[in-house]
């Protein structure tokens, strides 16, 4: 009888406040970083073969696709790091109120966006 009861849990019909979105993105960025690290490890492994393969990899890394993936990975890392620092600060009882939580979330987005732009500048300029 109990198992037949429906449960309302439609995430599209539930309004998540900004701190929740920042926290969920922290998780998502962590999973994507894990996948990106596999990609980076494959690149690293391919550089160990011989001098020709190493030079080929250096050449490949300059391509738009590789540099875009690299930029995306660094952006994810920036976001994950900044959002993680927010969690650490909360563990130290900083930013526990709802207002501070909202301000902290906005700061996480701004700082990670700035870092992402700086990563782009570093890669492409």
């Amino acid at each position: 009888m109990k198992d037949a009861r429906p449960v309302f849990l439609d995430l599209l019909a539930i309004r998540l406040p900004l701190p929740a979105a920042v926290s969920i993105l922290h998780r998502v960025s962590g999973v994507l970083l894990f996948l990106a690290s596999l990609y980076l490890l494959i690149l690293l492994a391919s550089s160990f073969g011989n001098e020709t393969e190493f030079d080929q990899l250096k050449w490949d890394l300059g391509s738009p696709i590789h540099s875009t993936i690299l930029w995306a990975t660094l952006s994810l890392l920036s976001y994950h790091f900044v959002a993680g620092v927010r969690h650490l600060l909360m563990d130290l009882h900083i930013g526990e109120s709802l207002k501070a939580g909202r301000i902290g979330s906005v700061l996480v987005l701004i700082v990670s966006l700035v870092l992402s732009v700086l990563c782009g500048v570093w890669i492409w300029l």
Partner: protein
């Protein structure tokens, strides 16, 4: 305004559905969401929801109002309405008994787990256990909880682990007794919380603080418990 209500009548509906009602708001005053529900129920008595005090004390009419958990009796329509629509759904993550009425058993089980009562193993005083004004102040923001479940059912950690993670309401109550100078069972209480799920599944999402109709801060209480657990050497 269009009011859409989550409908599920066991034995009649096989799946939940949204039923839409037209409602004309008065020009001269604001209404609480509960008043709208009362009017609609007068026209359609089959609508099911809980209510009692209608002043934010009993905690019976917690529901998802346009995607945000709150008490229908304390939420003004003017604050909740979005694009002339009011969507009323049951509290998320709990089994629906009928329409907006959910089965709170899991919520109460987690509340029970924190032993929400004073424990003191010292000799009984002649009259009452006294407390300094400073110690009493530590309970402000903790004791006011009305167990409406708005916080716990807005918490993603509770949605995914309702049997393992205690949830914000139970943890707020847990800290209410950990912080009480008259309670002597601190070690025992902390040892019961010392596992990866009960407390540490909280990720600081703060949905609980956002939802609480009494403006309490379970996230802060949970962080205080974590600090106590660390200081206790766990």
């Amino acid at each position: 305004m269009q009011v859409s209500i989550y409908r599920y009548i066991p034995g009649k509906d096989t799946e939940p559905r949204m039923q839409h009602y037209d409602y004309v708001l008065p020009d001269d005053r604001d209404l609480m969401v509960l008043e709208v529900l009362e009017d609609l129920k007068a026209k359609d008595p089959s609508i099911g929801y809980r209510r009692s005090c209608r002043e934010g004390v009993c905690g019976s009419d917690g529901m998802s109002i346009n995607g945000r958990n709150g008490l229908a009796c304390k939420t003004p329509v003017s604050e909740a309405i979005s694009r002339d629509k009011l969507m009323l759904r049951p509290l998320p993550g709990l089994p629906v008994i009928r329409d907006l009425i959910v089965d709170m058993s899991q919520f109460y089980r987690q509340y029970e787990r924190v032993d929400p009562f004073l424990k003191n193993d010292t000799a009984k005083p002649a009259q009452e256990r006294l407390q300094s004004q400073e110690d009493r102040k530590k309970l402000d923001g903790l004791y006011e909880c009305i167990l409406c479940a708005c916080c716990t059912t807005s918490c993603p950690s509770f949605w995914w682990n309702p049997d393992k993670f205690l949830g914000p309401a139970a943890l707020l109550q847990s800290y209410r007794f950990l912080a009480d100078s008259r309670d002597t069972a601190t070690e025992e209480r902390l040892s019961k919380l010392d596992d990866p799920f009960s407390v540490f599944r909280c990720r600081g999402v703060m949905n609980c603080v956002n939802a609480c109709p009494k403006d309490l801060n379970p996230t802060k209480a949970i962080n205080e418990i974590r600090t106590l657990l660390v200081k206790n050497g766990t």
